[in-house]
Amino acid sequence: MDLSLESAEKPVSFAKETGVITVGQYVLIKLPSKGLKIVETRSDGVINLGKFGSFEVNGILGFPFGQSFEISADKKVSPVKSLVFELEEEELENMDQETSRESTPILELMKNSSETNRDIIDIGSKIQGITSEEIELFKKQNNDNGEILISKIIESHKGFNKKTKYSQEKYITRKQQKFMKKFTVEYLSSSNLLKYYEEKDLSKILNLSEETLGLMLNLLDIRPGGKYFVVDETGGLILYAMMERMKGEGLIVVGHENEHPNFNLLQYSNYTESAINSMIKPINWLQFFEPENEKLIFNEQTKEAIEELRPQKKLQYYRRQKRIIEINKTIDFVTGKDSQFDGLLYCSTIYPTTLIPNIITKIKGSRPIVVYNQYKEILVELQHLLSKNLNVLAPSIMETRARPYQTIPGRIHPLMSMRGGGGYLLWGTRVYPKEGGVIAVGRGFVRRNERKKQKLEKEEDNDDNNKNN
């Protein structure tokens, strides 16, 4: 029987356009407010960014990813340097002198500033001479132009000149985040998809952080052409990250707990359905544990009978046949006697201590075992269990956290807050214990050796070496 699961027909093109914004793909939109949005670039489509305005998709096509745009009144866009108007360091320094540089209304307003904040008296909202109703009216009168509006707001701010330059800059940035009709288009990488869910619904991706995702993928030693057994309860985020690294070569068998697997995040991946189906093969736990009962039977019809079917029914027949063959092949491949996989990545809320020992035997020798969990306690229990399992070498628990900094030369410091959590990883290596057991060498070896010369007592024998493992 042919156990090979790799499709004979490779998908036509697996490579995605990662350099230039093209039609018909999902992209990440960054808003001045730091909000994120995933949108599809439909030809001739219009994308609505709420209070930041709407724009025509055609206007952004062909630009490189990372490009920022400003929306004008007629839903057209023009490329701009950055999302928020950043002040160059020299501009700040030279502002007091008369410079020949082109000045903007905002820069003009910043010419008067204070050395310190000593003159600032907190009088609350009264400091702003313009009301929100007046702002709305002003917006309408000026075609919703963000820059003119911000100038107006600054002009009406009674204490603006008493602020320091840095404080003025911060104030302007805040106003820009609120009123500028700008956005940046980013390539929807696995990291960007993760960042989107970080804001939207962290529990959906099991609190996974970018740094933990990176560490897990490296520890799994992902290579194009590898075959991996994966349990991904993040809805497909991990699968997407793996597919990106493997670039269409190899196989990912996914263990799941439902009748049909849930990879709904993969819809954003820009990989075609056939590309996804050629790489990712699902198997549920019932099929995994009771393969003989769960293999599907296909009632093959005679050629004549098939020919007599209506075209619709014929198509259905072949589709069903293909699906059943595929499922049975996956079941045979996974539940066969041989170890088949180049690594195990387990990211699930199913209690790992009950399930992992059953999957380990499917993994080839000297291949990584990586288990993710939000909670260290779960992994502590698993490490205790695996330390006694001779099929796993040197399991240990790892944690990684990225601490972001405000990175402005002269004002560098760690950000005042960062996200907590990010999960933990257990990393070990699948090994083949020597049949019949081994005698370990270590402390007390000579004494023990004399005491019971040839006696092979597995438990005690593995004691010392295991301490080193």
């Binding site: 990372g66 360091e89 194009p224 052409g225 240990s396 628990i397 083949y432 081994v438």
Partner: protein
């Protein structure tokens, strides 16, 4: 064939094996007929490795002591390689690869090569379809690294001996650039190298850079240079990698503590009783010298009894004075995680930035 680019299942002569002797003792070897690997757990014949599967456990020539034969991975290599410089550890390297979105097919520039730890990790991830350009200005370090990459068949790595800060990145055969989409600079003064990058980076893709520097002063200069050369989204982060081991801590219940104190008190009182009794006897003996052997037997028995009790140690709920194995089923335990005794509290600062490809003319928003 490179063990870092392709998987192998069975060990043959000439194959690269990482001999796992202990957690802090992984020895890289090339399997050669009739060679012997000597370790503190015994001598292991290379002949006994040939034909075994990667991941197998083998015993020493004497039949006891064992090691595991592991397939090379960049992560295990990082734990076993000969250090010629400070190396980039896995929590840092894995984050950089993820954040710069390095995948199969990526084209990456690395300067300097150092001990080649990160080089292996890059080479594995960008795979046979990608290309890594690595630069090292220290001549003998370059020679060692180059020899190592050849031994490990890292065919997707081009190593160059060059001070990139002074001479830039352009090399023979790539005069029109490396078309690199990701840059990693682990140099004493990365700001000097940044000026040379436009010649070699991709003209059609967004390019990401990570500068790896231990000092904050370097970060300041780097951030300024990046800004001046048109890089945006400049952000520095620090990675803290931690390791934990699952252990068990005995649950010592206060009711048992009280029980033990009571037991000690009880035995102490018993001891006093016995002592008083013995003293009385002694005095009686002195008074009537001729009480005879009967009494002396009684006395011996008392002494014996107290000694036995002392050896039993009475109520001993926590195994005091005994050698208790962690997790011994006679006691109660709580699963806990233990941190390393020493952690890497600072590896380096990671300064990231990105540069957009100029495929369409970019107009200033103010014009």
């Amino acid at each position: 064939m490179s063990a870092f680019l392709e998987y192998k299942e069975v060990i043959g002569e000439g194959d690269f094996v990482l001999a796992f002797i202990g957690r802090d003792n992984i020895k890289p070897i090339i399997v050669k007929k009739d060679d012997i690997l000597n370790t503190r757990y015994g001598a292991f014949a290379h002949n006994s490795m040939i034909g075994e599967k990667y991941g197998s456990q083998i015993t020493s020539l004497k039949g006891y002591g064992f090691i595991h034969l592991l397939h090379p991975t960049p992560e295990l290599w990082t734990l076993s390689l000969p250090h010629r410089t400070q190396i980039v550890y896995t929590p840092d390297s894995s984050y950089i690869i993820q954040r710069l979105n390095i995948t199969a097919g990526s084209r990456v520039i690395e300067a300097g090569t150092g001990s080649g730890s990160f080089t292996h990790s890059f080479a594995r991830t960008l795979s046979k379809t990608g290309q890594l350009f690595t630069y090292e200005f220290h001549e003998s370090r370059y020679q060692q690294a180059k020899a190592e990459f050849e031994l490990h068949s890292l065919t997707n790595v081009i190593a160059t001996c060059r001070d990139v800060c002074k001479k830039g990145f352009v090399i023979d055969g790539y005069e029109s650039g490396c078309d690199a989409d990701s840059i990693f600079l682990d140099l004493p003064s990365p700001w000097e190298a940044i000026a040379h990058l436009p010649q070699v980076i991709s003209k059609s893709k967004r390019v990401g850079i990570c500068c790896f520097s231990p000092c904050i002063e370097q970060v300041i200069k780097t951030a300024e240079a990046l800004k001046n050369h048109g890089w945006s989204n400049i952000e520095m982060v620090e990675i803290a990698g931690r390791k934990w081991e699952a252990r068990k801590e005995m649950i010592r219940d206060v009711s048992d503590v009280i029980g033990r104190l009571k037991d000690i008190k009880r035995r102490k009182e018993e001891g006093i009783e016995i002592r008083d009794k013995l003293q009385n006897q002694n005095q009686n003996q002195k008074v009537g010298e001729k009480r005879g052997n009967e009494d002396s037997n009684e006395k011996e028995q008392f002494v014996k009894k107290t000694r036995i009790e002392r050896e039993e140690k009475g109520f001993n709920p926590f195994g005091k004075g005994l050698r208790i194995k962690e997790g011994d089923e006679a006691y109660n335990w709580k699963d806990i995680s233990e941190p390393e005794t020493e952690v890497k509290s600072h590896t380096s600062y990671l300064t990231f930035a990105f540069k957009n490809a100029p495929t369409k003319p970019i107009v200033n928003h103010q014009s």
